[in-house]
């Protein structure tokens, strides 16, 4: 047997002090297999060892929370005995190495988390980040990721109903693939991932175990270097057909009531599912790897325990009812095999043909994994990037800026991507992709759920606390713009190497921001995911917390979208236009500058704004609602005219902003928070203005829907005048035009 020396520890990503702790918990030296178990379970990916102390500060409770963090997914009550089960998860590292499979298995993983809870998945969203589409590498990764998401989700028949995509060179070597899934379950039918009942059999079902993905969790906990392409064998291969069978069979088998606990084998595979189920149920488990169905010959226990082969589940079944469970799996041509049983005590015992080969306390792998209070430090550059040297810049003309921004891939229509996603399967999709929020109805009820995933890495780079609050506010505001009252949230924290104090500071600040905003906006966090070490050759991504917010509409028929509906309707801006250019798409695109302070955010005013828009939609007195984000008010107004068949608008804005030379552009393209553009029929205008006054939300009529052009003036001076068809074509085709260039293969 290999001696455990510093080289072996390094290969396992275990630090010397961690090894000491392992020996203490074990009461002896671990063997190589046991070291392997610790290595995956104590990886950042599985243990959250760097982020856990901070995550504990997040608000996780609320009147509707049925299941908070700690299970496979969170759940919130949506009335009539139903709950929405949802979570977001990342597959960033694998998607860089093998874009199609990396993204596909990311979708597969989050779907399993949802149906494992006993919920039928009904919606997928994704938050994606890539490098500039002007580079062949980014085009290749974008192409592969989009195809992979579609290839998996479309096959299974879960619609991809929305999401957001941002392109920035900071993600060139570390694309982000965050996938959100939501399912519906009866509150009473929720099944948890805990083992219970001594003597209850433990079943393995699904795909056979192969050597793919061994140490996937460890890979996802390390930075990339020039050798990363060699890590390809650590990316798993997905089989959506197997997953579809597993999903249907598991949902059916859970209805029998014979399932005590169930967990999917995701990161850290068989090791994670056995130790976590035992740990959650405060019991022991004994398994024999001999019984694990294997795809390859000659696999050793180490490989079987650490494999991350996809589409596998672990079930604890009530003793005496095995036949009921086996019959359901047989129906679906799946073979469920008993691999072990629940035992007294609290240890995970792994056997190979009857011989004990590993014997570890469950909790040593899970709850007793190290938790670090890592050192933090404000980056030296933090203050300086918050300054904008306006005197060095020459303002772009408003028209030129508008024409450019409308076709920037981050702002442009993402139709190229979502045309490849089946968004109509399931017959629940009320708001198609491309609207402020995705909306799905809840069948057999009058209700609907609105969902949005949002994050702004640029803002978080400039101020992680502020940026994270803005992400929560935007996701929540998007949901509110569809009429959804936020009832729960999930977060995906994408950051660099937490062992660097300035990155750790970003993480801590971002989590603090998420906590403060979620508390103020009544959106408790019910689960999430942390992806660290998103760095290549020492350069980290922008700190990118992504928030997924779920909102409830009591009356699905009341929902509105961003698009103008009738000529002559009043265009009203809710909230203040403050002309803040810090961190804006305008500065980045027109001046190649990421600088300034992110927009201010008053959480009280944000909450009032969201409550107002939800009320106005419920009252049925507005025709459209659209949040202002990247590109500011001018872009938001333009987007309201797209997909309307060419309905234009005329608007006049009051000049704002501190820099006189940039006042017009700040007015048009500043990205101040807490703003919503609505359109209102004239007969409802008084009611809307009165409701805004009562809610103490600033409201100003800025123009009218109509004409065939987007006409925006500032203080009466014409600034933008673009025919809707040409602006819409530029916006709709920008990404496909870039993608039409032949993507080169590996450079």
């Amino acid at each position: 047997m290999t001696a455990i020396d510093s080289a072996v520890l390094e290969r396992h990503g275990i630090k010397p002090d961690e090894y000491e702790r392992i020996q203490q918990l074990m009461g002896r030296e671990p063997n190589l297999l046991e070291l392997g178990l610790f290595s995956v379970m104590w990886s950042e990916h599985c243990s959250y060892k760097s982020s856990r102390v901070h995550l504990r500060t997040l608000p996780t409770t609320g009147p509707r929370v049925v299941q908070g963090p700690g299970e496979n997914a969170g759940a919130v009550d949506i009335g009539d005995g139903l709950c929405a089960v949802f979570k977001i998860e990342s597959h960033n590292h694998p998607s860089f190495i093998e874009p199609y499979q990396g993204a596909a298995t990311g979708v597969g993983g989050i779907i399993r988390d949802i149906f494992t809870m006993g919920a039928r998945p009904i919606a997928l969203l994704n938050a994606l980040r890539f490098g500039s589409l002007d580079t062949p590498l980014a085009r290749r990764i974008f192409e592969g990721v989009v195809a992979g998401i579609g290839g998996y989700g479309n096959s299974i028949g879960i619609p991809t109903v929305g999401g957001e995509i941002v392109f920035d060179e900071m993600y060139a070597g570390n694309p982000l693939v965050n996938v959100f899934c939501l399912g519906i379950a009866h509150v009473d039918d929720i099944v948890k991932g805990a083992a219970k009942g001594t003597g209850n059999p433990v079943y393995y079902v699904g795909a056979k175990t192969g050597r793919d993905g061994i140490h996937g969790a460890t890979m996802a906990s390390a930075e990339f270097d020039e050798k990363s392409a060699e890590k390809r064998p650590a990316v798993q291969v997905g089989d959506p057909f197997m997953e579809k069978l597993l999903m249907e069979a598991c949902l059916e088998v859970m209805k029998t009531g014979a399932v005590v606990g169930i967990q999917d084998m995701g990161a850290a595979g068989f090791t994670c599912s056995t130790s976590e189920m035992g740990s959650r149920g405060s019991c022991g488990m004994t398994v024999d790897v001999m019984h694990v169905p294997q795809r390859e010959t000659g696999m050793i226990p180490y490989e079987i325990m650490l494999s991350e082969s996809q589409e596998r589940m672990l079930l604890v079944v009530e003793r005496g009812r095995e036949h009921e469970v086996e019959a359901v799996f047989e129906k679906w041509d799946l073979h469920a095999v008993q691999v072990g049983e629940v035992t007294e005590g609290t240890r995970l015992k792994i056997h190979e043909r009857g011989t004990l080969v590993a014997d570890v306390p469950n909790r040593a792998l899970t709850d007793e994994a190290p938790v670090y209070q890592r050192p933090m430090e404000v980056p030296l550059w933090q203050k300086s990037v918050q300054e904008i040297a306006f005197s060095d810049l020459t303002p772009a003309s408003a028209q030129q800026a508008f024409d450019t921004l409308i076709a920037v891939p981050t702002i442009a229509s993402k139709r190229w991507a979502y045309r490849q996603f089946d968004h109509t399967v399931g017959t629940n999709t009320i708001a198609q992709p491309g609207m402020s929020a995705a909306v799905v109805r809840v069948k057999d009820t009058p209700r609907a759920l609105a969902m949005s995933v949002d994050g702004n890495g640029r803002f978080c780079y400039l101020d992680p606390y502020q940026g994270a609050m803005l992400a929560v506010a935007e996701a929540s505001r998007n949901v509110a713009c569809a009429g959804g009252e936020p009832i729960g949230a999930t977060n995906n924290l994408n950051f660099g190497n937490p062992e660097r104090p300035e990155i750790m500071w970003q993480i801590a600040e971002a989590v603090r921001g998420i906590g403060d905003a979620c508390r103020a906006l009544n959106a408790p966090i019910t689960g999430g995911n942390v992806s660290l070490y998103n760095e290549t050759e020492g350069r980290a991504i922008f700190p990118t917390p992504v928030l997924g917010v779920v909102g409830l509409l009591e009356d699905a028929s009341k929902t509105v979208t961003r698009t103008f509906k009738t000529a002559g309707a009043a265009v009203v801006l809710l909230g203040d236009n403050l002309g803040e250019l810090g961190g804006s798409e305008y500065l980045a695109t027109m001046h190649n500058l990421v600088a300034g302070k992110p927009p201010a955010l008053n959480l009280k005013r944000e909450a009032a704004l969201q409550a107002l828009i939800i009320k106005l939609i419920r009252d049925g007195c507005i025709e459209s609602a659209h949040d202002c984000s990247e590109g500011g008010l001018a872009i938001a107004l333009a987007e309201c005219t797209f997909d309307t068949g060419g309905m234009g608008l005329s608007a006049d804005l009051t000049s704002v902003g501190d820099e006189p030379a940039f006042a017009t552009n700040a007015t048009l393209f500043g990205e101040s928070a807490s703003r919503i553009v609505i359109s209102v029929g004239s007969h409802h205008l008084d009611h809307v203005m009165e409701a805004a006054r009562a809610a103490e939300v600033p409201a100003r009529e800025i123009g009218r829907v109509g004409g065939e052009a987007i006409r925006i003036s500032v203080n009466g001076q014409a600034a933008i005048d673009s025919p809707v068809p040409s602006a819409e074509t530029a916006w709709a085709t920008a990404i496909e035009t870039k993608m039409r260039r032949k993507p080169k293969t590996d450079s």
């Binding site: 057909f241 069978l245 979502y418 017959t427």
Partner: protein, 248 residues
């Protein structure tokens, strides 16, 4: 009347078809597992979308060996109405119940969008309630919807008025620019010579309620109901069975 919706392993629109038939149209419907051998007295059969048997080998290629397919074939041979939607259409092609084949979309990628589709013929069980040349807005969601047939076969299809749905402009003009997948002659759906078996790539069951973006698809299942009622009305008095055996 009663619809049977066949469930293959990998079907993913079975529940949608069931919902449309039972909840939207308001008729009886039953999900039938592919290992079953009989259609449980159904008056019309729907083979739903999805990726039956993982679409391994070719789309629809393995599904035709499912036990239920003998019953479906016998039902079709007796003149019973059979509708194949998307993957169900592909299964009908592989099973030889409809002529031709499906190949990869000409632009390679999966396409998911609502498209205008023109109804070409109204003398089938699934278009009986349509107006001639009516344009329906229906979602498509497929990677292999590019209909192909040999030149002679295609000629025969057109001559026999077996092309039932064609991709068109919203005004009903058929042109290459409105063809989303490269299908020959813009074909979106066809029927067999006897006209009782219809297959189409668009999803009428997903466009049966206005909140979903279009209710145009409702007419397809409503046609089956009308067809069934017309048949019943034309039948001699005293015969009450609704099984198609009695119709043959």
């Amino acid at each position: 009347m009663k619809f049977a919706v066949v469930v293959f392993p990998g079907s993913n629109s079975d529940r949608d078809a069931f919902y449309a038939a039972s909840r939207v149209i308001g008729e009886q419907a039953e999900l039938i597992w592919h290992k079953d051998n009989d259609l449980k007295g159904a008056d019309a059969v729907i083979l739903p979308g999805g990726f039956a048997h993982g679409d391994y080998l070719r789309t629809g290629a393995i599904a035709r060996f499912s036990p239920i397919m003998s019953a479906v074939t016998a039902f079709a041979d007796r003149g019973g109405p059979v509708l194949g939607i998307c993957n169900g259409f592909q299964v009908l092609l592989e099973a030889g119940l409809l002529p031709g084949a499906m190949v990869r979309n000409d632009r390679i990628k999966f396409v998911s969008q609502i498209v205008p589709v023109r109804v070409e013929q109204t003398d089938t069980p699934f278009t009986a309630a349509c107006a001639p040349k009516q344009v329906l807005h229906l979602p498509i969601a497929h990677g292999e919807g590019n209909y192909f047939a040999a030149p002679d076969e295609l000629k025969a299809l057109e001559a026999n008025r077996q092309v039932i749905f064609r991709y068109s402009s919203p005004a009903g003009d058929v042109a290459a620019e409105w063809n989303p997948n490269g299908s020959l002659n813009g074909i979106a759906g066809i029927c067999n010579r006897q006209r009782n078996v219809v297959g189409l790539m668009p999803h009428p069951e997903r466009a049966s309620e206005l909140p979903l973006g279009s209710a145009d698809g409702r007419v397809v299942l409503a046609s089956a109901v009308k067809f069934f009622q017309d048949l019943k009305a034309s039948r001699p008095q005293g015969r009450t069975t609704s099984s198609p055996q009695a119709l043959a």
